[in-house]
Structures are given as structure tokens and as C-alpha cells.
Symmetry: C2
Subunit: 186 residues, 2 copies
């Protein structure tokens, strides 16, 4: 069976993140990926979960409380400012982005190409060897196409000796379904 | 770690083919995928391995002899004629294609869009529910671009209610590296 897109994104992270590592949810939204990461890294690990929207912070904290997670720091800030929250020599075990808008919320607040690229660039400098940044690209909304295109332009230009960039997508589906991008540091 | 393209193709088949099934290597070449399929299905299964080139048939038979495989029928015919070798109600557990030319051989003998599409079309009619056709697309050679494009045009048009079509590729590599297509019958 072929995995669905969200399941495949999780399989990639599960296969590359180890217990005890520090990892990043760059767009915590309703907290589902934050919770997933929290379980992978265990009590000795640390999740940094970012979102700019107050509602996302509230929802994520609630979900983490419900599951008694104590290994997460939830930060209301743009992921473009990740470097302000990570010490200079901190190694990152992996990261996930969900690009688009907060489900069931204000569709005018969306991730944007410029801050997304800035966040990816920051994380790549801290990412462990063979670590992954996994990006679930929702692009059917207003502004989604521009973000997708600037992201693809940047990622296809990454030096193949330093990074492998995978694109994993279903190509016979209508209505701009999400796809997965994964950047591995070599 | 991200799997390489050939390894990922094998992971997909390993996850979807069961012991005892009948499966197809549509382009047996030097026999590596045939041998792989032979091991998955076990003594009670059956591999039908096709190639139009005499050298491919010789190489594949030699490899199978070396590994004492007795569950393979090697057939020197175009995969476009697969329907001549499969009975009307035979269920197929999965199939693999390697598109391009026989490695270390005559580069003018290549798979072509028309016969590749005909073969895929035949196998889809026999494929089990949730079964996969996995296609490793080499397209850097003369004629490869045309085959790739006709294949993508056909596969993107498949009804998403009947089939899921996955494209899995590394997008920052030079020299037209191969990528994977996988068609799942729903």
C-alpha cells in the first residue's frame, strides 16, 4: 500500500529522529505534529514548536496538556526567527513544516515563501548529518502557488553534494493536493 | 535516511507483494529485479520476466541459475504482448518496469512510450486490489524524454477513484537521474 502524504511525512521523521534529540515543529498549528515529535524523542528530548498565531499556541498547548507532554517548548514567534531560540552549537535532529494556513481558522494568515526559506536556511545550519527537514506543502489556497514556486526554486538549487532533496507527490489527484518535500543533509 | 531510487522501488514492492503470488518483471534486463521478485514470492509464487533482447534473456537465466531460482518463466517477447502470456482470469500481485536501455549494451534498443503504455494498460486489468506497478524511469538517453512525457501524460489522466499515482524523485540532482512512478489499484 502507498502511504498517504501525512503518513509518509511521519514515516520519514520516525526513520531519522532518535530519542533524546532536539527537533523543531516550525508550524505547530493544532499541535498534531508537535505531539508526534514529542513521542519520538521521549523524555530526554526537546521539541521547539513555533507558530505566529495565538490560536495555534492555545490549541497546541491544550493538546500537549491532554497528553501530559513535558518535553516541548511552545513559542509564539515566526519560524523565520528560529535562530533566536536555538543556541549557536545546538544540533537539530529533524524538523517539520506544514505550509499553508491554520485549519478551521483565518485563511488570510498563511506561511510565506520568504520567511519559510529563511527558517529552512537556519535549520539546515544546525541539522545533524543525515537529518531531515520534512515539508508538507499545501498550495491550493490564495498565495500557495507563489510559496510553492519559490520553495521549489530554492530547493532544486541546493548542492547535491551537501543535500538530497526529495519530492514525493500523487500526480493524478484534483484540487491541488498537498505533497511532501524532504531535505536530507549529507 | 532517504532511500535511493532503486531501493525505494524495491521497498514498495516488498510492502505490497505476498508469497505465492504471480508477478511481472516487464523489463528483466540483467535479471536483478527478477531475482528480487523471485525471493519475495517464494516457491509457491511465479515470476513472468519479459525482455525483447536475447542478451537480457541469457543474462537473466544465468543469474537465476546461479541462485537456483525455479519459480521464474523468462520470456523473450515485448512486454506489449504480456496479455498473450497471462490467462484471462490470472491475478497479478505486482509488477516492475525499468525504462531505458540494457546497461552495458546497445543503447539504440530502448523501451518506447507506446509499448510501455500498452504493457501498463494490460497489467492494470489483472492487478490485485491495492497492488502496485512500480516504474523506474531512466530518461537521460536519446528517446527517454519522449517516453517519460507520454507516460506522465497517461498516468496523470488515470481516474483517482480507481488508481493512485505516485511520483517520487530527487529534484536537485544533475544529469537526469531516474525517478520512481508507482500506480496503485484502489
Amino acid at each position: 500500500m502507498l502511504s498517504g502524504i501525512l503518513h509518509y511525512a511521519h514515516e520519514l521523521l520516525e526513520g531519522s529522529i532518535n530519542k533524546g534529540e532536539t527537533v523543531i515543529d516550525a508550524t505547530c498549528g493544532n499541535g498534531n505534529d508537535t505531539l508526534f515529535l514529542s513521542k519520538i524523542i521521549g523524555d530526554s528530548g526537546h521539541v521547539l514548536a513555533f507558530d505566529i498565531q495565538n490560536q495555534a499556541i492555545i490549541n497546541t498547548k491544550q493538546l500537549l496538556d491532554d497528553h501530559k507532554c513535558t518535553n516541548v517548548t511552545v513559542i509564539q514567534d515566526s519560524h523565520a526567527n528560529i535562530f533566536n531560540h536555538v543556541s549557536a552549537n545546538q544540533e537539530i535532529g529533524g524538523a517539520i513544516f506544514n505550509l499553508g494556513y491554520l485549519p478551521n481558522s483565518d485563511k488570510s494568515v498563511i506561511t510565506k515563501g520568504e520567511s519559510t526559506l529563511s527558517a529552512i536556511h537556519s535549520i539546515l545550519r544546525h541539522l545533524k548529518k543525515n537529518g531531515l527537514i520534512v515539508i508538507v506543502v499545501y498550495h491550493g489556497h490564495q498565495g500557495g502557488k507563489q510559496e510553492k514556486e519559490s520553495l521549489l526554486e530554492y530547493l532544486t538549487s541546493l548542492n547535491q553534494k551537501e543535500f538530497s532533496v526529495l519530492k514525493h507527490e500523487f500526480i493524478n489527484q484534483k484540487n491541488n493536493p498537498p505533497f511532501v518535500l524532504a531535505i536530507q543533509k549529507r
